[in-house]
């Protein structure tokens, strides 16, 4: 059922190296001096309070925002205009006025997949997230959870080496959240690096291997999930964990 990410015929995209990355809007500094290496394999969770800069960091990594200072370097630089080797799923899924299937084939088309292959690949991707029966439905009439799974199917169909997720379950009920988490888990097992922003601590524990903890735009702590939750090394992380309800 799982379609593994094909072994890259070219040098892998990862690791991603951030060096002194900062991002400012006007004179408001939203990210400051972030240095980190994002390695393939493990699932990375970016944690932090609202306004800590999590979403900005994700966008800078994905290339949607250009860092105002520092550098973002992939192991293999992306070629402008070439099909992307990374994908992103947003908090509110952005779907087009097409069928569920049409949304996936559209993305495959942009990624340069031959027309003859698009249908099969889209169908397979929809089946993997449990939307096989809804392939012909208008995407925007799907439920919130189905829409987010469709967004995941669209991203997955591209067989990205890295998948960025920006609070993908923030607007979903617990049932839909479980389904989305299962899909994320499956994408990870198929070989895609997961970088997930969340402020749901339960989700961080369930889906994360390591935590990047941001506080007011700075990378304060980086630790394996278990250690982060049991023994946060920084005062900021300890305060954050204390402030959040542990069972949410």
């Amino acid at each position: 059922m799982l379609e593994p990410v094909p072994a890259p015929t070219h040098a892998p995209l990862l690791p991603l190296t951030l060096e002194g990355v900062g991002w400012a809007a006007g004179n408001q500094l939203l990210l400051a001096d972030i240095s980190a290496i994002v390695a393939p394999g493990s699932r990375t969770v970016v944690l932090g309070a609202n306004g800590a800069g999590k979403s900005v960091l994700l966008r800078v990594c994905h290339g949607l925002l250009r860092p105002t200072t520092g550098s973002v370097r992939w192991n293999t630089p992306e070629v402008p205009g070439a099909p992307r080797r990374q994908a992103m799923v947003f908090q509110r899924p952005v779907l087009f006025r097409r069928s569920a299937m049409g949304n996936v084939t559209f993305a495959l088309g942009l990624a340069g997949v031959a027309r003859s292959e698009r249908q099969d690949r889209a169908r397979a991707a929809l089946a993997r997230v449990g939307l096989g029966a809804l392939a012909d439905r208008p995407a925007r009439l799907l439920s919130g959870g189905e829409q987010q799974r469709l967004a995941l199917a669209r991203a997955w169909s591209l067989q990205p080496e890295v998948l960025f997720l920006d609070e993908p379950t923030a607007n979903l009920d617990p049932g839909a959240t479980r389904e989305v988490e299962a899909v994320i888990e499956a994408i990870h097992r198929a070989g895609t690096k997961i970088v997930l922003v969340t402020h749901n601590l339960g989700q961080a524990r369930r889906l994360g291997d390591e935590v990047l903890f941001l506080d007011r735009g700075r990378l304060v702590e980086r630790a394996p999930v278990d250690r982060f939750f049991l023994q946060p090394a920084s005062a900021e992380a300890a305060a954050f964990l204390e402030g959040e309800l542990p069972w949410t």
Binding site: G81, R84, M88, F96, R97, R98, A107, L110, R140, L141
Partner: protein, 234 residues
């Protein structure tokens, strides 16, 4: 009052028996406006979408200019096209002044800013919501513009219909470049103007009713399409 009632009755008969003169005028109106809309749409929609999506210096100035052109007086367009197409004008050699072709050109010029500005506005709103996703998928300006045009296809039908409404009910430009020649370039609006000044109210009123009906049908169509889309695509 009595004259009006009489004229109304006569107008009704003209329409009911599909009077030859009336039919010819209505058909020419529809043909000229339809042709001008096709031309204007082909130019204005891609341009409007591209203006919404692309980022380049001077874009704002172009958008402001485009919106200002919405208020373009039709007689001024008529005059400009007249000068272009007149014997001594730069395009005089084509000899199309006082032909339906000239009217199509004038109406297309008149309606292009309208379709362009409305398209740009619609695409621009959609772009705010989809820009990150489209860029994430690797879509450039052209691919994004095309994708959004397709995404908005149903709303854009109403843009085209709005353009058609403007074209078919416009009088100044077609009067100047068409010349209101009986049987050749006489359309509903120019005929109404002429017949009214001649005092032939029945034909003027009959044409007025047909024009109203057409505008009404066009708007009803726009409404129905919008409703249907909202049901189908949310």
């Amino acid at each position: 009052m009595n004259t009006v009632a009489l004229a109304l009755a006569e107008a009704a008969t003209l329409i009911a028996r599909a009077d030859a003169e009336l039919t010819q005028i209505v058909l020419l109106s529809l043909k000229v406006s339809a042709a001008s809309i096709v031309a204007a749409t082909a130019i204005a929609m891609p341009l409007g979408a591209w203006l919404a999506v692309a980022a380049f210096p001077g874009r704002r100035a172009i958008v402001v200019a485009l919106n200002a052109l919405l208020g373009l007086p039709s007689v001024v367009v008529g005059l400009a096209v007249y000068l272009l197409l007149s014997r001594a004008g730069p395009l005089g050699a084509f000899g199309i002044l006082f032909t339906p072709a000239a009217m199509v050109i004038a109406q297309a010029i008149l309606v292009t800013p309208l379709i362009g500005a409305l398209t740009r506005q619609a695409v621009s709103d959609a772009w705010q919501e989809t820009r990150e996703q489209l860029r994430s998928l690797g879509a450039g300006s052209l691919a994004s513009a095309l994708a959004l045009l397709w995404d908005l296809r149903f709303s854009l039908v109403t843009v085209v219909l709005a353009g058609f409404g403007r074209a078919v009910s416009e009088v100044g430009a077609v009067m100047i470049v068409g010349g209101n020649i009986d049987g050749v370039t006489r359309v509903m609006t120019t005929a109404i103007a002429l017949e009214t000044s001649k005092g032939d109210l029945p034909l003027a009123l009959g044409l007025g009713f047909v024009l109203l009906a057409i505008v009404l049908v066009v708007n009803a169509l726009a409404y129905v399409i919008r409703e249907a889309v909202q049901r189908r695509h949310a």
